[in-house]
Symmetry: C2
Subunit: 217 residues, 2 copies
Amino acid sequence: MIDNGAADSQTRRRRRRSDGERSREAILHESARLATVEGIEGLSLARLADAVGMSKSGLFAHFRSKEELQLATIDTASSIFTDVVISPARAASPGVRRLTAYAERFLAHVRDSVFPGGCFFASVATELDTHPGPVRDRAMAIVNGWVALLEAEVVAAQEAGEIDPSLDTAQLAFELDSYLFLANTQFVVSGDRLALERAQRAVESRLAAAGAEASRD
Amino acid sequence: MIDNGAADSQTRRRRRRSDGERSREAILHESARLATVEGIEGLSLARLADAVGMSKSGLFAHFRSKEELQLATIDTASSIFTDVVISPARAASPGVRRLTAYAERFLAHVRDSVFPGGCFFASVATELDTHPGPVRDRAMAIVNGWVALLEAEVVAAQEAGEIDPSLDTAQLAFELDSYLFLANTQFVVSGDRLALERAQRAVESRLAAAGAEASRD
């Protein structure tokens, strides 16, 4: 009985821990979605508790401060972005095909409203641009990681002889990223897919132009 | 004496009105600057009164509601944008030169922190993208006016034979605008002028490529 009781209690503890993990994950998913609409600074524990059907004190058991919640929200948004944009695109072969896939997956995640306010990181970066601090730093590290990913793929395209090897790789990554960034904002405001189509066309024609320069060499 | 008294009183009334106009203008300039840092929804009459050295009730004499203040702030920001970006660029001849001038003036107003949070309309559009209402509508009308201005100039460049006449004018305007939009955000976050230089280079090389296509025809 004592042994059984101890085992039961261990099972209960395990279940509790795993319920806790599940609800932490559910809170952070909701928080990442809310942050793209209300702003990450506008996140309120009260509203979030309401959205996930918990008491405010239940939420406080998971996050000791608003900043802890904000940082954890950014990490969750980053995992979601990796799952729906980066990982699927990495199935494409390196270089121009993967760059095109990054654009396609990025625009698809905006179109599909993975986050209701469009790209989480575009939303948070434009919100926090004038608000320095650890939350902005964490978000900007992820934005910079995305830009570095694009630039690495431009380098891969050069190494594969797909695009002009003399092109400034950071410049080309900037141009490709800019199409995605504007399309995201325009789509969130208007709901018009034309913005997404324009960005896809811009990425493809920019890469084609860079390729034409390579083949002229 | 009566006549003099009446004249004095009229002068006083005029002076009062003109003081009122001046302080209204001063309030709206400060409000436009603050909105790019705190957000246009984050504008508080208390903070604004503090920033312009007025009492909150003095401020209420000018604006009956927060929405009235927000709409008037957008109109003031639009006047400032016209004065520092659009009007000077219109001195350039139509077509490619004026498009380049629009880009230069836009990037200069970001570099010079005319608004501390960069382009007022980029700031407000990204803030309000998920918040429909009259304030967003007024801001978006000005954003759309800017895009229409760029597209009209692309058409002028085509008519002047400077760029490929078969190009999709809205597509090219989208691409040019995207460079400016991303550069604005990157500069506000980092303070690094490289972003502004990249955008200028992107605009010029995109127009040169469109011009090369024209000369191949």
